[in-house]
Subunit: 430 residues, 2 copies
Amino acid sequence: MKDIAFVDVNDGSCSEGLQVIIPKSLQPQNLSFGSSVEVHGTLTINPNEQIEMVAEDIKVVGPCIVSEGYPFSARKVYPPDYVRQFPHLRPRTKQFGSLLRVRDAATRAIFELLHAQGFVNVHTPLLTSNDCEGAGEVFLVQPDSEVLKKEMAKDGKCPEEAYFDSKAFLTVSGQLHLEAVARGLSKVYTFGPTFRAENSRTRHHLSEFYMLEMEMAFLENLSDLSTFIEAFVKDVTSKVLEECEVDVQTLLQEASKEGEHLTLSELTQRPFVTVSYDEAVSILERHSEQLELRVRRGEDLSKVHELFLVKHCGGGPVFVVEWPRKIKPFYMKCVAGDTDKVAALDLLVPRVGELCGGSLREDDYTILQQKLESSNLDESLAWYLELRKYGNTPTGGFGLGFERYLQYILGIQNIKDTIPFPRWPHNCKL
Amino acid sequence: MKDIAFVDVNDGSCSEGLQVIIPKSLQPQNLSFGSSVEVHGTLTINPNEQIEMVAEDIKVVGPCIVSEGYPFSARKVYPPDYVRQFPHLRPRTKQFGSLLRVRDAATRAIFELLHAQGFVNVHTPLLTSNDCEGAGEVFLVQPDSEVLKKEMAKDGKCPEEAYFDSKAFLTVSGQLHLEAVARGLSKVYTFGPTFRAENSRTRHHLSEFYMLEMEMAFLENLSDLSTFIEAFVKDVTSKVLEECEVDVQTLLQEASKEGEHLTLSELTQRPFVTVSYDEAVSILERHSEQLELRVRRGEDLSKVHELFLVKHCGGGPVFVVEWPRKIKPFYMKCVAGDTDKVAALDLLVPRVGELCGGSLREDDYTILQQKLESSNLDESLAWYLELRKYGNTPTGGFGLGFERYLQYILGIQNIKDTIPFPRWPHNCKL
């Protein structure tokens, strides 16, 4: 305005800035969008009942000369694809600031809710000598220094095995380690980065992503597990929505431009639906003309199938339970009376498809031994089998993809916009 | 006894078990130490005012035949070196159960205290294309599959660069990434695994360890940083001691067999001492006859020097401040008026030596540019320099080794006994 300027100052503590009123006489020449400033002044309440500051002194700590290449301008909202090109500057945007605060709140909600229920946080290792699911899509880890590898290699070891005396991989799951700890502490969880060396370039995959995994002793029914998951997911969401109301609104406004998402009350109140794998396949068969990919009974579901099932079952989360044994990992327990099916569940949600996977674990020593032998894992997982030999207990648990969870509650189209520094094939910027 | 048996049942929720009284007639034959059981009965309060259970039914869920190789027996406390050989069974021991609960409590205390002060938890990446400190002791990461690497390699890229189009390493610090986010959110921290590909086999080193790192905008005095660290370390410790009194006692009893450690009130109340690097070297020079290793002014301190300084300064934590520029990383800011010294601090504590390192960061574009050029990092860290170009702010922060912190408060001799599944040279079990 003529005699005064309004400046929106944000310190990153919330999405709304503080409006600062600066008399023209005090306004520094190099004050521009994107600058960092130090302001002294008096806080007042303006006629709209908002807090604002009348500046008595203002200093530009770090100027920002937009013409020299700063990629953002005042009052513009940029598409996520554009903002993502500047990962080191992205945290300064309003949208991504909101995302980072919601991510923090969701992390703390997970810790608080599990602690309140007696779960102990266990830091399962990132480096491991076993390739958990035998999937092969793992990252190999070795020292970068050739000199160190030569110096450390014992007789008969190849350079890749020099440092640890065996090949070492980045973890794809902390589950097997959690099962060991659950036999001491009963209720345990791990929350941390997990890795997949896949060449998937979709809106739902990252090479480095966060996973919550929990394991509970004496869990003997799949329905107890699905009941737990439903309550837990809703509780985390309620806590996040409560703490981050404005940030969530900021993000949902953006999301609603890009398609449907659940409303806040739908997220926390709509009951989750359960269907068996067999029913799910029957549904998909009946609607094959609407699906671009045909389903085959006995095989895994693809993303289009998952999203169709969610829509078909009312648009909210859907548990698919009791899966064919042949397409699931060795550690899952068979359904009582049906050795072709395992007591496993997938939780499917709108927009992202699979959010959680869980199961009861095979706790019979002899059956597990056979399964390990037939998967050629009996040597590397001898320790895992031994858990069933001494003071064994049944256990079960699940894993939840944290970035997919954020996509689900915030309606975020691309998983790369849910994590501060995303890694995907051909991209490890910074 | 003649007609009844006493059984100590523990579910891992605390270090003390529940005493269960079993009439001889109900006692299963295969009930032995290490079994898992399901008991139904009545809770009562015995004459010693302790809760106990009188069993009405007891079932052995998982027997434990010690003679078949279970490595632990009833009422024995084993030395940590022995227990460490069985990482999959170690969580069942009383000592290690206590450690895991304390580790969980300390993790939550860090999150809660930083949240209460307005800090946002940021998941900095584990995979990075920059080798933060240029130290070279990094792990290289690439897909295990040769087929995948061939399939993905772009023209001119070597197999190691196939997946990400550049070499990718495991992080040695999240600091540089935190500095980027601090320019948006002001107060940020990261807590997670960090890696060193060193061939150090000491009681103080792991290849995979946890680090808390925080970064704060507008931090301009080193003394503000040391004040923050002192209050923070004491607050975390107070919270842990309050929540885990019995577990901490269990662990300290073990520790007191192995040497001195601070008492609980010393941990939370003794003021931290500050000496400059120059003073510290003078102290060490004056006492050179008591030191097995001679100190050299201008060079780094070794573990013996660190521990001597702690003893000499009263036995509690000691900040050593204002270090020679030449032995510290490029990103540290010079002390005002002395370009040979940087505004850096190390916090030294009994038993472990260095617990934290922190500094003010160089925020002058031109000085940082020169430093990056002379370290040959100007290309890979162009993004880091750019943080100083647009809306720059001064920042500072520190990193704290979490396992060393646990060693410090719990008096634990060997760092391998502070983490569930330790990794060190020639060892990546499980």
